[in-house]
């Protein structure tokens, strides 16, 4: 409300700037050009006289200069009478007033409504930090935790809370640092170690580096069954070119994986990549049990074809219901595994469009895109 009052007052001021001088009524004659010229010439004459009095210029020089100025004065005087009077002023002024009254609000208002965001309040940083946490403002939540951690650098819980958020919005350096701090302060656990490993991996663009690998190994030391750590260790083996070892790790993991675990699809893809098969129990989500069974009895080419079909089904589903972030990520990975970088890229692009406002989702998409080497 206050904003609109301010806008109105400003508009009024602009209009008044036009109306005020018009109020002076009828024919005030403008100071003529010749009048102003004459004044300057008189001043020049006075200056010459001063210079002569102080001896700055000689008599002859001064006389010549005087004559020249005098000629200009004569010319200017001749022009004085020629500047005609004004007529028809009132109609013109009314027209100008009307233009100002209508044009200014119309132009300014219209342009502003097109360009401006009047309903969006200012967001000074200090205020945002003080105000009640708004759960949708992830950035500010992070800032608050950071401020808190600056004051209490030994609060391990704080690091543990903020680390996955960092990872989700793509700040992997910070995520890795936060996980490392959490481990230092709270001791190792499977979740923390895998978190650290994942962050390090994302930082390295999807490569399971030595540091990431030892983090995953530490996670297994804390919990030998941790599925994430096992999956990534498999990935490490694959990236090192030890496909057989990768297949062994993943097969063992798949055997331990409940049928409805969301990462079964991922695991299936991974196994397909190293040429191994997905052992039972079959998954409920991801490839259907029947599909997997069918896949086992096919030639490699046919299998490839079938997997493509599955991926295309997923794609069709996502085209209708786009809010499934995990689905999108799976799609990106699947296309990439099938060696179709262009499709993977377009999936990433569509996913970004769907989650345009959602920083967390975008972070995950970007992270995966980076991991898969899709560029951005």
């Amino acid at each position: 409300m206050l904003l609109w009052i301010a806008f109105s007052l400003m508009t009024a001021a602009a209009i008044l700037a036009v109306l005020w001088p018009l109020r002076t009524g009828a024919a005030t004659r403008a100071a003529g050009t010749a009048d102003a010229d004459l004044a300057v010439y008189r001043d020049q004459l006075a200056e010459i006289a001063r210079d002569r009095a102080t001896g700055l210029i000689g008599t002859a020089e001064g006389e010549a200069a005087r004559a020249e100025v005098a000629r200009r004065i004569l010319r200017a005087t001749a022009e004085i009478g020629q500047e005609g009077a004004v007529s028809g002023g009132d109609r013109r002024r009314r027209l100008v007033a009307a233009i100002a009254l209508v044009g200014v609000p119309l132009l300014a208002g219209g342009l502003y409504l097109w360009l401006g965001s009047p309903l969006y309040p200012p967001q000074p940083l200090a205020q945002r930090l003080e105000a009640q946490p708004n759960p949708s403002d992830i950035a500010i939540l992070i800032r608050k935790v950071e401020t808190h951690l600056e004051a209490n650098p030994d609060d391990g819980r704080g690091y543990e809370v903020v680390a996955p958020i960092y990872a989700r919005i793509g700040r992997f350096d910070d995520a890795a640092r936060a996980w490392a701090n959490a481990i230092r302060l709270l001791g190792p656990s499977a979740v923390r170690e895998t978190g650290l490993g994942e962050a390090l991996m994302a930082q390295a663009g999807g490569v399971v580096t030595g540091a990431a690998k030892s983090a995953f190994e530490a996670a297994l030391a804390a919990d030998p069954k941790d599925p994430k750590a096992r999956y990534f260790l498999g990935l490490a083996a694959e990236q090192d070119g030890r496909n057989a070892q990768a297949a062994a790790i993943w097969s063992a993991l798949a055997a331990d994986t409940p049928a409805d675990a969301p990462w079964r699809g991922l695991l299936g893809d991974a196994l397909a990549r190293v040429g191994a098969e997905m052992p039972a129990p079959a998954a409920a989500s991801g490839p259907g049990a029947a599909d997997v069974a069918a896949a086992e009895s096919l030639t490699p080419a046919q299998r490839q074809q079938m997997i493509r079909g599955m991926v295309e089904r997923l794609e069709a589903r996502l085209a209708e219901q786009g809010d499934d972030i995990d689905g999108w990520l799976r799609l990106m990975r699947a296309w990439s595994v099938l060696g179709d970088g262009a499709k993977a890229k377009s999936a990433a692009g569509q996913a970004r469009q769907h989650f345009a406002g959602d920083t967390a989702a975008l972070g995950r998409i970007d992270a995966l895109a980076r991991e898969l080497g899709l560029g951005s």
């Binding site: 005030t28 050009t33 102003a36 004459l38 020089e61 013109r92 502003y112 360009l115 965001s117 969006y120």
Partner: protein, 666 residues
Amino acid sequence: MNPEIGHYALVLSLAVAILMTVIPIWGARAGDAALMKVGTTLALVLAGFVGLSFATLVVAYVQSDFSVLNVVENSHSAKPLLYRITGTWGNHEGSMLLWVLVLAIFAALVALFGNNLPARLKANVLGVQGSVATAFLLFILLTSNPFTRVIPPPAEGQDLNPILQDIGLAIHPPLLYLGYVGFSITFAFAVAALIEGRIDATWARWVRPWALTAWAFLTLGIAMGSYWAYYELGWGGWWFWDPVENASLMPWFAGTALIHSAVVMEKRDALKVWTVLLAILAFSLSLLGTFLVRSGVLTSVHAFATDPSRGVFILAILVFFIGGSLALYALRAPMLRQGGLFAPVSREGALVLNNLLLTAAAAAVLVGTLYPLALEALDGSKITVGPPYFNLTVGALMLPVAFAMPFGPLLAWKRGDLIGASQRLMAAFGAGIVIAALAAYAQGGGPVLAPFGMGLAAFVVIGAVAEVIERAGFGRVPRATAFARLRGLPRAVFGGALAHAGVGVCLFGIIAETSWNAERIAGVKVGGSFEVGGYELTLDRLEPRNGPNYRDLVGVFSVRRGGVEHGTIESAKRLFTARNMPTTESGIRTMGFSQLYVSLGDELPGGGVGVRAYWKPFVTLIWIGSIIMALGGALSLSDRRLRVGAPKPAKKPKVKPDPASPVPAE
């Protein structure tokens, strides 16, 4: 403060600027005083709104309001307050807003202090100024809106380019803009006069103060920019012939020519056609500079904004104003009455020479700047026109200017006595020869041109003093009379002489630095030392230090000459953590007018660090000379003759009658 207030103020400014373009010019054509006066109030209101808009943006920066995209992209909450404020114009959008603000302020100044102007001229001037404001406000609103918002707001900004995070750069654009945009007023005067179809000696008198103001600011702005590049870029150079520097130098040459030819026009009613052209050119070159910088057509160290749609928009503005004004000029100039006559050897003749050389220099810089562009457009080959070209052409054109400079003021109007003037410059000439001889002795061999140039510089400085002494009549009239006359001399005389002396000082610095500087590049370990320009520098220690948003690696050098301690120099390699961007913080130690300059390179594998050190004799004179020039301009500006003009136009009878009227107000 709500950014939306600023946004609305900006939109409203556009509406006001459009009215300001139309109403006063219409009033002037119809001879309607009330309509013409609308221009005055609108100019004030425009400055108010643009000012409000700019202030809102500054507040958004100070408060780190990250709901404003411009703040997100160019600020950071960890930045010191000062740089948060200066960050407002350290980016494209903000700097364009500043540009328009300066434009509006100049228009408001004309509105406020232009009461002595003929009403019609004033109305036309404000109208033209309004049209320029309209074009640039449209540009800002449509292509570079600083008030674009982001939802949701991020929690942290993306920092300012650290190289721009510097006090020199913080003040340099506003100064430069005061100069650039100041010429919009002379442009407006020229176009207004052409619209009216009459230009008299008085026109020059109205224009001179504005031209002088713009020129003085531009001089300061260029000097400031040069000093910034000198100490911030870490290459020890103070002028790179970078397109952006050229863009500011061209209007400076044209503006310098303008303030001189305006004198001829005012005193002698001559060179009118030429002066008007210069007024148009000075601003056209400013616009061209804006285009070159903002469109990103040229690769340059300043290229912090490149966007083709912006480039096209500015190009359209450029074509409209330059093309339009030149067309108007072509149409109207032949109708202007010819003015007074003069002999080639005369004050006028000297000023014509100055004008020719200065505009030729501006043209040479223009050719050098645009030639690579033209060639690339024609056959796609990529070339660079480097410093040698500019040094050769501008140098060759400026040396005669410097040599003729002391003669000009000593020649009489209309018909001068060259021999007489030379006799009166004997002392200055002698001083020049002595300095040249001393310089030759001091350098003992080396470049021949150096002593010659220094002698010339001394000749210019002493010649400026000689002019004042001569004017006062020392040696010809009794001393008491001479002192009285000295006091009676108009300030413009002192101002002119001061500015000329500044040129000499600057020239001395340039020549001494370029011919005598010493450079040393070395790898140094802690405890090691090297020699440059007769000084021995020892690297005492290398230490890390932490700043608010950067980390420094500082090298501390102790300076000795002939075993005598001369203090220490600290030079740093700075890493801005937010962008992981390193910069060089050169260490500079000033000794007299000379400087020792040390910058750090990379750390070397075997320990130690690469160091580049320079001995820069008399380098500070370059900037001191520029400041003296600007001061000369300011002194001239304070001359009452430039402020006086006509009495205020008679308003209503009840207003207190001016007793002096119609005698010159003073």
